[in-house]
């Protein structure tokens, strides 16, 4: 019987090469059919979590389980088979710039299915219709706005009807109308297609309206997780700093360095 969680992290630690620890013995879960959002400071390992789930990075010690399978123990064929069950929307869409909107969405279908071109055409138009861009099928990526690029990328990500879809900061740089459209689409696709959604986002208002489950990541650890209401009501100063978007608090505004007095020679001036 499948677990209630599509993805689970167990005591996972990760660092790039010999660099500092990015994720420090974290455990988290993505409930099936829910929209989970990870928030936290930039450079805090949020995108790394997406890469770990997709098998682009492997970690030891610790485990990432996708539908019960240990991602770290899969070989190349196993990783590719698993990736066919997930879609990912990169921060800036990452459309193939030499292909039209239609060909971008058709790409995974042509690569992974033996469907006829007539069938592929119908599926592509259905996916584009779902994101409101059926009429833009013949445009090239250079002719699209930032919001349209992400919608095309979203259509491409759902082309193979994945079980899990991951969004890396889908709202960054979008105007309010495009942001609202994107948020509605993410919710609609999750509910109508029965997906499990994982999203990394800094847009708190949209996140609190959209998410079923929020994970706050800080200093490489899971600071708190829960429903939007639970996160907003948390008394933890760190969580409150995120919720109120305060520039200073447990997460410092200034990057660590020499003191102001040392840098500007204030001590020397006084002694002179």
């Amino acid at each position: 019987m499948p677990s209630d969680n599509l993805v689970e992290f167990h005591d996972l630690t990760f660092r790039y090469g010999d660099g500092p620890v990015i994720l420090d013995r974290i455990s988290l879960r993505l409930p099936r059919g829910k929209v989970t959002v990870i928030i936290g400071a930039s450079g805090g390992g949020k995108t790394t979590i997406l890469r770990l789930i997709g098998g682009q990075n492997k970690s030891r010690p610790g485990q990432v389980l996708f539908d019960g399978q240990d991602v770290g123990s899969l070989d190349r064929d196993g990783i590719y088979a698993m990736r066919r069950r997930m879609g990912m929307l990169f921060q800036f869409g990452a459309l193939f710039t030499d292909q039209s909107v239609f060909d971008n969405v058709a790409f995974p279908l042509r690569e992974h299915t033996g469907l006829s071109e007539a069938m592929i055409r119908d599926i592509v138009l259905m996916k584009l219709h779902a994101v409101g861009l059926r009429g833009a099928r013949d445009l090239m990526p250079s002719e699209l706005s930032g919001g349209m690029i992400r919608r095309v990328a979203l259509a491409r990500a759902i082309a193979l009807d994945p079980e899990l879809i991951m969004y890396d900061e889908p709202f960054s740089g979008l105007d309010p109308i495009s942001l609202g459209t994107a948020a509605r689409l993410i919710r609609q696709l999750n509910d109508t297609l029965g997906l499990t959604t994982l999203m990394v986002s800094h847009e708190l208002e949209a996140t609190f309206n959209l998410a079923d489950h929020i994970i706050v990541l800080a200093n490489g650890k899971v600071a708190q997780e829960g429903t939007p209401a639970e996160i907003q009501a948390s008394p933890d100063p760190l969580i409150q700093q995120y919720v109120s978007a305060s520039p200073d608090g447990p997460v410092r505004f200034h990057y660590p360095g020499p003191s102001v007095a040392d840098d500007f020679g204030l001590g020397r001036k006084e002694s002179a």
Binding site: Y80, R83, R84, F90, Q91, F92, T97, P108, E111
Partner: protein, 260 residues
């Protein structure tokens, strides 16, 4: 003298060995593990069009001008010895055995190699390579292999065009402008050029250069730092490394061909 510190030297050597290992693995994978690319020949055909057609003008014009110069220089030297009628043979042998393959490879590195490196590097910077991996599509099979085999196929064809245009250039200058006998010009070529020893060796060179230049261009693009500066440096490295590799390989191949 920080770079003389043993740890720095060790780190640099380790990085170089790691890069060589990566390059060797990629070359073996491309040269021996991507024959399945030919099942989707359309991808290779598109790249042959891109690399070949768009390089055709510069190759043809360069070949013509090299032929002009050879016609002039060759006549100047040969007429001293009363052998001006051998001008056609001199031009043809020089082009088919040596200049055709080498200059074509150098021009190909500058025209097509740089465009391959920049294209792959910018795809990497734009996360197109990553997105392909996340779609369970191997970028080596889908992106690199068709370009690699297209480069290998196109290079001998471009070298043939270069040599043909060069011979025409030599004929224009020698026969039409200077007045060397046209019959001698062509009959010397017909009698003096051996298909296997001369043309065959030239073809072998172009195939080897095709492997080398296309691989270097793809490797530099694939390993480029995904930044504007990284892509720019990778493009420069493609031209420098390809040129030196072509000239070095040319010496080795020529020595082997004279020895064997």
């Amino acid at each position: 003298m920080k770079w003389l510190h043993p740890a720095e030297v060790g780190y640099t050597v380790r990085q170089m060995l790691a890069n060589m290992g990566l390059g060797a693995r990629l070359f073996v994978r491309l040269a021996f593990g991507t024959f399945s690319s030919f099942k989707r020949f359309g991808l290779i055909r598109d790249q042959i069009h891109f690399l070949g057609n768009y390089s055709l003008a510069i190759i043809a014009i360069s070949g013509l001008f090299v032929g002009f110069v050879f016609g002039l220089q060759g006549y100047y030297t040969l007429q001293r010895y009363g052998s001006a009628e051998a001008l056609g043979l001199l031009v043809t042998l020089s082009l088919v055995r040596e200049l055709g393959p080498v200059v074509t490879a150098l021009l190909f590195a500058g025209r097509a190699g740089t465009s391959l490196t920049a294209e792959i590097g910018l795809m990497k910077a734009g996360e197109q390579i990553s997105v392909m991996e996340m779609m369970a599509v191997d970028p080596i099979d889908r992106i690199l292999a068709p370009r690699f085999w297209a480069g290998v196929i196109v290079m001998p064809l471009l070298a043939a065009v270069f040599s043909a245009m060069g011979i025409i250039g030599g004929w224009v200058v020698g026969v039409l402008m200077i007045g060397v006998d046209g019959g001698s010009f062509w009959s010397q070529i017909q009698g003096g050029v051996d298909v296997w020893a001369d043309v065959g060796n030239g073809i072998i060179k172009t195939v080897v250069f095709g492997f080398a230049v296309t691989f270097i261009a793809l490797l530099q693009g694939f390993e480029a730092h995904p930044t504007p500066e990284g892509v720019s440096r990778a493009t420069t490295r493609t031209v420098v490394m390809s040129s030196l590799t072509v000239l070095g390989l040319d010496f080795i191949l020529t020595a082997m061909m004279f020895t064997i």
